[in-house]
């Protein structure tokens, strides 16, 4: 019997097609599921995830002093702000800001500013941590790459950067200890 006549055999065809369809579906589902371990292996490994928070001891940081901590490979600027710096930051809350944010919303304790030290323009590390560094017009930080200037709250005031210096997730675990991340 000619095989090509099978198309007219309706119930047989439905049965046969269902088996092929079902098997293909199960096979494809398996293949997709098998793909996941390969993709997930490229996600951060357990040891990387474990180092995703850093503890910083703030007790050696004097008033007016700035330190740089390392978190997830990135620099974090920690500024023990003077009362003048705090006042200046709060006064500028309502200034013409590119990225409007109140100073209070950017700190947990006003005398401690914790921001990620990466310019939001193209990723350079702004100057201002050392006392001899230029700090820009607003006495915060100054990025030498393209001239972005940040104020004492880490907010962008002048230059090409679009956003304020990012504030990472952090917590005071004690009066003088923070955990970042």
């Amino acid at each position: 019997m000619a095989e090509t006549a099978a198309k007219t055999d309706e119930p047989g065809e439905t049965r046969r097609d269902f088996l092929y369809l079902a098997t293909t579906a199960v096979g494809v589902a398996g293949a997709v599921a098998a793909l996941w371990p390969f993709i997930d292996s490229m996600n951060p490994a357990a040891d990387i995830r474990a180092l995703s928070s850093t503890e910083v001891d703030l007790s050696p940081v004097a008033v007016g002093q700035r330190i740089t901590a390392k978190w997830r490979g990135k620099p974090v600027f920690i500024d023990h702000r003077t009362p003048e710096e705090i006042k200046r930051a709060e006064q500028d809350d309502n200034a013409d800001l590119r990225d409007p944010e109140k100073d209070q919303a950017r700190v947990k304790k006003p005398e401690w500013l914790v921001v990620i030290g990466i310019c939001t323009h193209l990723g350079c590390v702004p100057l201002g941590q050392k006392p001899t560094d230029p700090r820009g017009e607003w006495a915060g930080w100054f990025c030498p790459c393209h001239g972005s200037a940040y104020d004492t709250s880490g907010r962008i005031r002048k230059g090409p950067a679009p956003r304020n210096l990012a504030v990472p997730l952090y917590e005071f675990t004690a009066d003088n200890m923070i955990t970042i991340g």
Partner: protein, 250 residues
């Protein structure tokens, strides 16, 4: 009378020998983690950790394990922090350029007993106690062998002499091992109050060491079962397809 005494003496000696033989032959336990459905007995693994910490870690490092890994066998985050903090770790340099000591954190690896191999040998008669992170996989016989070794420090048979500084072990190839018998009844007081006999401690520490060597075992067997079941189903369907396709041929 004399005959009776001789017989009873012989019987007593025989009983003693039998007891000795029984003590020498502790059969390897049925490990909870062998077989396709095997999983780690976490309580045993924790007891094993207590044995490692209180006995073995004096000489043997566990360099590939992080303190945070202990959460996998049932310790809480706080318990792990406490366990880690018991040991000091060298860190630095600090702002003065000096290296300093600080308590270990969960993200640190297990602190080794000796700073380097030279110090390890000096403290152990020239022998180097091996790192135990993968010891179960690095020895033929695996967990059974490690268990037999720990139970193998039996009395020296008459016809065997052991070189100076070494010890007789019934399971060790060559029978003379540089490691002194580390386990004795009651050497550890278990937190869960299980009686700490030598076979019990040997079993628990072997469970712990198998976990240290194969921490992925539980996940591996679980995924394995699911994968095999899926593949059996899929292969059966593929067979049906093959038969259906080939039936066209006659």
């Amino acid at each position: 009378m004399r005959a009776l005494r001789q017989i009873s003496l012989a019987a007593a000696l025989a009983a003693l020998f039998a007891a000795q033989a029984a003590a020498e032959e502790v059969p390897a336990p049925d490990w909870s983690f062998t077989g396709i459905f095997g999983t780690y007995d976490k309580a045993a693994a924790r007891r094993g950790f207590e044995v490692y910490k209180n006995v073995c870690s004096a000489c043997h490092s566990l360099n590939l394990v992080y303190y945070r890994n202990l959460q996998q066998i049932g310790y809480s985050e706080d318990e792990v922090k406490t366990i880690a903090a018991e040991r000091q770790v060298t860190d630095g340099p600090n702002d003065q350029g000096e290296m300093f000591q600080r308590p270990a954190r969960p993200t640190d690896r297990f602190v080794p007993p000796f700073a380097n191999d030279v110090l390890a040998r000096l403290a152990n008669n020239g022998a180097l106690p091996p790192d135990l992170s993968v010891i179960v996989k690095a020895r033929k016989g695996g967990a059974d062998y490690i268990f037999d070794l720990l139970n193998g420090f039996v009395d020296l048979p008459e016809d065997f002499t052991v070189p100076d500084g070494m010890f007789y072990n019934a399971a060790f190839p060559g029978y003379a091992i540089a490691m002194p018998p580390a386990l004795s009844d009651g050497a550890v007081t278990y937190a869960d109050q299980t009686p700490a006999t030598v076979p019990q401690m040997a079993q628990d520490v072997t469970t712990f060491l198998n976990w240290a060597a194969e921490p992925e075992l539980d996940a591996r067997k679980k995924l394995g079962l699911r994968t095999m079941m899926f593949l059996v189903l899929l292969t059966a369907m593929l067979y049906a397809v093959k038969r259906k396709v080939w039936s066209k041929l006659h």
